[in-house]
Structure formats: structure tokens, C-alpha cells
């Protein structure tokens, strides 16, 4: 395990220190927590937007704290949802009296810890509501399953909801738009190599020299198929078609696109994938309003990428295009 770290137990706390040390004008760390909040928080008359989850997905989530996105991000241990008390501290720090909205990815651990935090916050008189993001079409969504996982599409939910909150929208309004956004965002990823947990030094799964896993989860959860490594065009085609297949899009629809690197894949390769993704979308008559290419929701040093499509109406388009200025995301 070749990692640039100190003690494996300290990776999260030292990482949070390093993030705050990089952007002291944008964010600060809440004492005795691994939560990071905007320096200006709480902002009067603004609903506080809080996200978070296990670490290892950087720049998610601390990198998205700032103007037009999150008011706070709570970092759990590597691949482990943060605890309710930490989330509660973040909620308290960003609540200006207008309430707090949580953006949660659909994993059992994340939901339970964030829900408990919301209950604790409400017990302390803080209005709280939340959305669960479940964009990963690799997982079947039915009442007999735990449902689709939340992956890179979450970043676009941060963007949309962050813009809305920045405009001063009320908690109910935020909930409505969040539901609409989640209903319209879909993603799917592929892994070429696993991530390695700093704690155990173990790979999250094993792949042969010529294999890839289609539909991978961002913690190494299994996908839908393990097969021979394909070309960039074949991969782009497979991911994009899966994603499109789960969205009812029509010619001329406005969409946003994200080609997300999982950590170790060079940006060169992400752009080669994007070339084909855009080609497919153009042939289908889609109007791509905005594209994001880069490492946005990673899985430590996993090699691979994901494709996300968000279907836009006028309201979402305007929110997507409005200013966001955070360490990890700019519009």
C-alpha cells in the first residue's frame, strides 16, 4: 500500500486540517469535529445546506463548501458515514433560524446517522429536512432492495440546492426542488482498479489485468457486470446508454453532463470519454447546457469514471448556471 499519509488512524483529521489550511478565507473547522463550515455561517435568512458522508471521496464533501453550494460538510472516517453528534454540530453552526437542509446519499449508514442528527436538531428547535440522493442506475430500485446508491450526481444536487438556498429560498421550497433534482439525475460508473482502505491496507475488490467492473459503487460495491476491458468509446456508450435508459428524455431536452473520475484515472482519459458521451448525446438531439469533467466524487485511488446526466427544466437550468465558488467546484 503506497500512500502519502502519516498514521492510518489520522488520515481524516489531518485531511480536514489540510483542507482548512488551504482555504482559510472560505472555510473553518468546527472545534472537536471533522465538520467544515463556511466562514460566514450562519448566514442570516438563509437555509443552511449540510452534506457529508464517509471520507475518501474528495473533493466531496468539504471541497463543496462555499458560495452557492454547501454551508457545511461533515467528514466521516474513510468510507464510513459520520456520527450524528458531528452532523448535529454542523447543523447548529449553520442554522440562522431559517432551518437546515441535509443532502444525504442513499446508504443505510448515511441515512441512519443523518436522520438521527435531524431528530436531535429538531429536539433542539432547529427546523430540519433532507433529501436522499439515489442516482446510481447500476442498482435496482424497488421496495425489496435498499434502492439505488448515491454517487456523483450528488454534486449536481449540491450545486442546484446550494444556488437555491443562496437565493434565500425557504426550507419547503428547497425540499421541492431537491426532490425534482433527484428525480432527474442518473449516473453510472466503471472501475478499472480498486481503492485501498488506509486502515486495513486491503483493496476493496479484485480485478484481473484485463477486467473492469461496470456499475461500480464509490465504496467498491459490486456493479452489474464484470467483463473484459473495453475501449473508451465502448465504455462511454455503455454508461451513457444505461443512464439515458433510466431518464425519459426527448429530442431538444436540456441536460447537464458530468464525467467524473474515480481518483486515479488521468484527466486525459476522462476527456476521451467525454468526447464520445457528447457525441452520443448530440446524435440523440440533446441540448447540453453545461458539462463538468474532472474528479468530483472519487473513491480514493480507484481507477475508472462515471457518467452523470441531469435533466433540466428552466428552473434547474437557471440554478445550475448561477454562480458557485467553492474550492472544488466553480460555475
Amino acid at each position: 500500500m503506497k500512500k502519502v499519509i502519516n498514521k492510518t488512524n489520522d488520515v481524516v483529521t489531518e485531511m480536514v486540517d489540510g483542507v482548512v489550511a488551504a482555504y482559510p478565507h472560505v472555510i473553518r473547522r468546527l472545534p472537536n469535529t471533522s465538520a467544515v463550515v463556511r466562514t460566514e455561517a450562519p448566514i442570516a435568512n438563509k437555509v443552511g445546506i449540510v452534506s457529508g458522508g464517509g471520507s475518501g471521496h474528495e473533493p466531496a464533501h468539504a471541497g463543496y463548501v462555499g458560495k452557492g453550494m454547501l454551508d457545511a460538510a461533515v467528514a466521516g472516517e474513510v468510507f464510513t458515514a459520520p456520527t450524528p453528534d458531528q452532523i448535529l454540530e454542523a447543523m447548529k453552526a449553520v442554522d440562522s433560524g431559517s432551518g437546515v437542509f441535509l443532502i444525504i446519499k442513499n446508504y443505510t449508514g448515511d441515512i441512519m446517522n443523518f436522520e438521527m442528527a435531524a431528530e436531535l436538531a429538531e429536539a433542539e428547535g432547529i427546523k430540519a429536512d433532507y433529501i436522499v440522493v439515489n442516482d446510481d442506475v447500476a442498482v435496482e430500485d424497488s421496495s425489496f432492495t435498499t434502492g439505488r446508491r448515491g454517487i456523483a450526481g450528488t454534486v449536481l444536487v449540491h450545486k442546484i440546492i446550494g444556488a437555491l438556498a443562496e437565493n434565500g429560498a425557504a426550507l419547503e421550497e428547497i425540499k421541492r426542488v431537491a426532490e425534482k433534482t433527484v428525480a432527474n439525475v442518473r449516473s453510472m460508473g466503471v472501475a478499472l482498479s480498486p481503492s485501498i482502505m488506509p486502515g486495513s491496507g486491503k483493496a476493496s475488490f479484485e480485478l484481473d489485468e484485463n477486467e473492469m467492473e461496470i456499475g461500480i459503487g464509490i465504496h467498491g460495491e459490486p456493479g452489474i457486470e464484470r467483463k473484459q476491458l473495453a475501449t473508451a468509446d465502448e465504455l462511454a456508450e455503455e454508461l451513457t446508454q444505461h443512464v439515458l435508459g433510466d431518464l425519459s428524455l426527448q429530442e431538444g431536452d436540456n441536460i447537464a453532463v458530468m464525467v467524473n473520475g474515480l481518483g486515479a484515472t488521468p484527466e486525459m482519459e476522462l476527456y476521451i470519454v467525454n468526447r464520445k458521451v457528447q457525441d452520443i448525446l448530440q446524435k440523440q438531439g440533446m441540448e447540453v447546457v453545461r458539462t463538468f469533467v474532472g474528479d468530483f466524487m472519487t473513491s480514493l485511488e480507484m481507477a475508472g469514471c462515471s457518467v452523470t446526466i441531469l435533466k433540466l427544466d428552466d428552473e434547474l437550468t437557471e440554478l445550475l448556471q448561477s454562480e458557485a465558488s467553492t474550492p472544488g467546484f466553480h460555475v
Binding site: 464517509g54 466521516g76 472516517e77 474513510v78 468510507f79 464510513t80 458515514a81 459520520p82 456520527t83 450524528p84 453528534d85 458531528q86 446508504y107 443505510t108 449508514g109 441512519m112 446517522n113 438521527m116 442498482v139 425489496f144 432492495t145 435498499t146 446508491r149 482502505m197 486502515g199 486495513s200 486491503k202 476493496s204 459503487g217 465504496h219 467498491g220 460495491e221 459490486p222
Partner: protein, 206 residues
């Protein structure tokens, strides 16, 4: 038999010992059908539990259990943190008010713990989660009128073993569908350590 503060703290020390020495084993179980952190999570949690307990003096069992619950809740995270936290919180609430806890009070509080787990995690028995061990132990306790450490161990062990044949439909292992079969559920193995440690402490081990 009744449960004293000393037995309950011994229970936690025993649990911590087992968790620490099986940390890598638990993580490897989780690596097979989850994300590989269960041993790390539990070791972090119970290390915090024993350090809290060591620093505090308690007059009731309920107080010990409340600290256990709070410490797990704020140190474990993931899926198992809120679940074990809830389970111990319910045990604490169910045993409130008395210095010692008699058998029937413990059994009732176990029912509440199982109900709490199920409410939090929305899992039924048979979904290959820690609920399988907790509810089996609770059901077994109902059939007895006192603690029997040996049978307690047996029930914890067999219900843990049974998760091997199950297909997960809750938690991270559920993404594997059929492929989750043939693997033990990590949270059930931790729960097994918890109940064998209870048996140990009832037998006077510290």
C-alpha cells in the same frame, strides 16, 4: 441471577477484547460483502467505550449502558454505529431505576432493543443483518427464566452462523444479491461477540 454494574462493565471489557483481537477478521468479512470497515469501526467504538467506562464511576447498570450507547453512537458511524447505539440505548432505558437488573427486566429491555434496531434499520429477521442475532437471542431469553451462559453462547453462535446461508436484502451486502450467500454477516459476528461476552461476564470473567 441479577446483573450488577461490575458485570456490565466486565461485559464491555470482554466485548472490547474480542473486537480488538478480531478487528481484521471483522473487516475481512465486511470486505467480502460490504466495504471493509466493520472491524475498524467496531474497534474504534469499543476502544472509546472502555476508555469512557474506565474514567467513570457508575451506580446503576442503566448508566453504564447509556454511556456505552452514547459512545458508540458518537464514535462508530456507518450503519453499525446508530444501530448498536440504539440497541444499547434501549437496554439502558429498559433497565432504568434499579441498581441491579433482574432477569425479566433484562428480557423486556432486550425486546425494546430489538424493536429499536428494527425501527432504525427497517430490517426484519432473515435479511442477513445483526437483527438476526439480536432477535434470536431475545426470543431465546423469553423461553428461559434465568441466564444460562452456555446456551446463550450457543444461540448467539448458531444465529450468527445462520446468516451465512442468507441472501442480504438490507445494508451494503444487499447490492451483491445472491452473491452475498456463503458469507457471514459482519454485524452479526460483532453481535455474537457482544453476547458471548455477556455470557463470560455472567460466569464471572472480567
Amino acid at each position: 441471577m441479577v446483573l450488577h454494574v461490575e458485570q456490565v462493565t466486565a461485559w464491555m471489557y470482554q466485548t472490547n477484547d474480542k473486537i480488538q483481537s478480531n478487528k481484521d477478521y471483522l473487516s475481512s468479512l465486511d470486505q467480502a460483502i460490504g466495504d471493509g470497515d466493520h472491524g475498524i469501526n467496531m474497534a474504534r467504538g469499543f476502544e472509546a467505550v472502555v476508555s469512557t467506562i474506565a474514567d467513570t464511576s457508575y451506580s446503576t447498570v442503566s448508566e453504564v449502558l447509556q454511556d456505552v450507547a452514547k459512545t458508540l453512537m458518537s464514535n462508530v458511524g456507518g450503519a453499525s454505529g446508530p444501530l448498536f447505539g440504539t440497541a444499547f440505548l434501549k437496554l439502558s432505558m429498559g433497565t432504568k431505576g434499579t441498581e441491579e437488573v433482574d432477569y425479566s427486566t433484562f428480557v423486556e429491555s432486550m425486546d425494546q432493543a430489538v424493536a429499536g434496531l428494527q425501527q432504525r434499520g427497517k430490517a426484519e429477521q432473515g435479511e442477513k443483518t445483526m437483527v438476526d442475532v439480536w432477535s434470536s437471542v431475545a426470543a431465546y431469553l423469553h423461553q428461559q427464566d434465568d441466564f444460562h451462559p452456555k446456551t446463550l453462547r450457543k444461540i448467539a453462535s448458531s444465529s450468527m452462523e445462520e446468516t451465512k446461508g442468507m441472501i442480504a436484502t438490507k445494508g451494503r451486502a444487499s447490492y451483491l444479491k445472491e452473491r452475498s450467500k456463503g458469507h457471514l454477516d459482519p454485524g452479526s459476528v460483532s453481535s455474537y461477540y457482544i453476547f458471548t461476552s455477556l455470557a463470560d461476564s455472567l460466569e464471572g470473567k472480567e
